[in-house]
Amino acid sequence: MTEIGIPLIETVGLTKKFGELDVLKGISERIYKGEVVSVIGPSGGGKSTFLRCLNLLETPTSGKVLFEGAELSEKSTDLDAYRRKIGMVFQQFNVFPHLKVIDNITLAPVLTGKMSREEANAQALELLEKVGLGDKAEEYPRKLSGGQKQRLAIVRALAMQPDVMLFDEPTSALDPEMVKGVLEVIQKLAESGMTCVIVTHEMGFARKVSGRVLFIDGGVIAESGTPEEIFDHPKNPRTQEFLAQVL
């Protein structure tokens, strides 16, 4: 690894229990600025939980989550301020159904005082144009297809001009014909230099866009490496078994 300096996001001995269930069993990982990291692994392995711990949507049971060296899980941290720098895209889109497309996008930048309404509007229209939703600004989300909703959700997160984007299976809830459009948007974003952490079942996509792949199984990172290392020469028998099943 050639990265230097402070990682953008770092976890140290991160664990998470749901009641008696040990979901994360100690994950220490560093993600540097500009990296595109894919997270793969079997269902129930803890991928979503790991991702959701990075912006503290889940509170870690023990261990640390650091953003540019600042500990997020510390009580005195202004968590909202850090979350503004961490965009998140959900499997179920979670667009705001009671707000027009444009208001979905401008709500957070305006409400948090990041931009004036005019700036936010201009930026929203520009972003919508980029993802092929230029004509949908005044629609309500119910008029959008699944793929369009997910592109809206991506734009909504980007409107906060985050330092990193987290994706949790962004295409798993989509009809097959919608997947491509959403993946293209994410790929463009990754190529533009945005730091991305992408939980995905799309192995072809993970291989194509990511610089590094994490294989999470049983609450630990069982193997990590470049796409070539993971997909072509997996060392861990668990990785081999998983890839044999999905490829």
Binding site: N55, L57, D80, A81, Y82, R83, R84, I86, G87, M88, F90, Q92, N94, V95, F96, P97, H98, L107, A108, L111, T112, Y140, R142, A153, R156, A157, M160
Partner: protein
């Protein structure tokens, strides 16, 4: 048998009308004040602190778990007896107090379940964008919860219209009290049927209104 139904209705309609007005008025006051109080109770109930939230749970359980008539008796007789200074207050207020508190417990649950019906992902998306808990509640959760809360409040008003019939026991001039008035004129069975008919007409009408509101609110899904 004496007089027929329509004869009685024709002769005494101002009494029934005044009774109906009382019923609608008392129910409206109870649900309106109950909504304000119920909203506060719901906020307390949603608190993350267990001790605070269970306070609201006890309040709701006691008021929903005991008959309204019992609550009215306690309010009407017990409070003035326990606190003699309050003796000069018109007794009507004690009946209204019981109705309001009772309604607030139901409204608290309506609001709580309305908020709970909004998908968890909505709050998560809002928080992940960096909105505060308060901003998330007022800008994302409540606007969506209203769709469930408003029709349920309408239904609570309809339920309260029927509940206020108990207030006649304490001499409040509402629909059920007209029975007492007319019994003094040796009219018994006719007023009872007329009263039932009026309750039915009013609740059916209002139910239809609530249905309509429900439909209009659900359009935006």
């Amino acid at each position: 048998m004496g007089k027929g139904l329509f004869e009685v209705l024709f002769e005494y309609w101002p009494i029934f009308l005044k009774g109906l007005w009382g019923t609608l008025k008392y129910a409206f006051i109870a649900v309106t004040l109950g909504s304000i109080l119920g909203a506060l109770v719901a906020i307390v109930h949603l608190s993350k602190k267990k001790a605070v939230s269970s306070l609201a749970a006890v309040y709701v359980n006691v008021l929903r778990g005991t008959p309204l008539l019992v609550q009215m008796y306690i309010s009407y007789y017990f409070i003035p007896m326990a606190i003699p200074a309050l003796n000069s207050i018109d007794k009507i207020y004690y009946v209204m107090l019981a109705l309001t508190l009772n309604s607030s417990a139901y409204v608290a649950e309506i609001i709580r379940s309305g908020i709970g019906s909004v998908d968890r992902g909505q709050a998560e998306a809002a928080r992940s964008l960096g909105l505060s808990g308060g901003q998330t509640m007022t800008r994302i959760i409540l606007p969506q919860a209203v769709k469930n809360i408003l029709p349920a409040l309408g239904n609570e008003y309809i339920a309260m219209i029927k509940e206020t019939s108990l207030a006649g026991t304490f001499m409040l001039y509402e629909l059920m009290y007209t029975r007492t008035i007319l019994a003094n004129k040796y009219l018994v069975w006719q007023p009872q049927l007329i009263i039932a008919g009026i309750y039915l007409a009013v609740t059916l009408l209002l139910s239809a209104g609530v249905k309509k509101m429900e439909k209009r609110l659900s359009v935006s899904d």
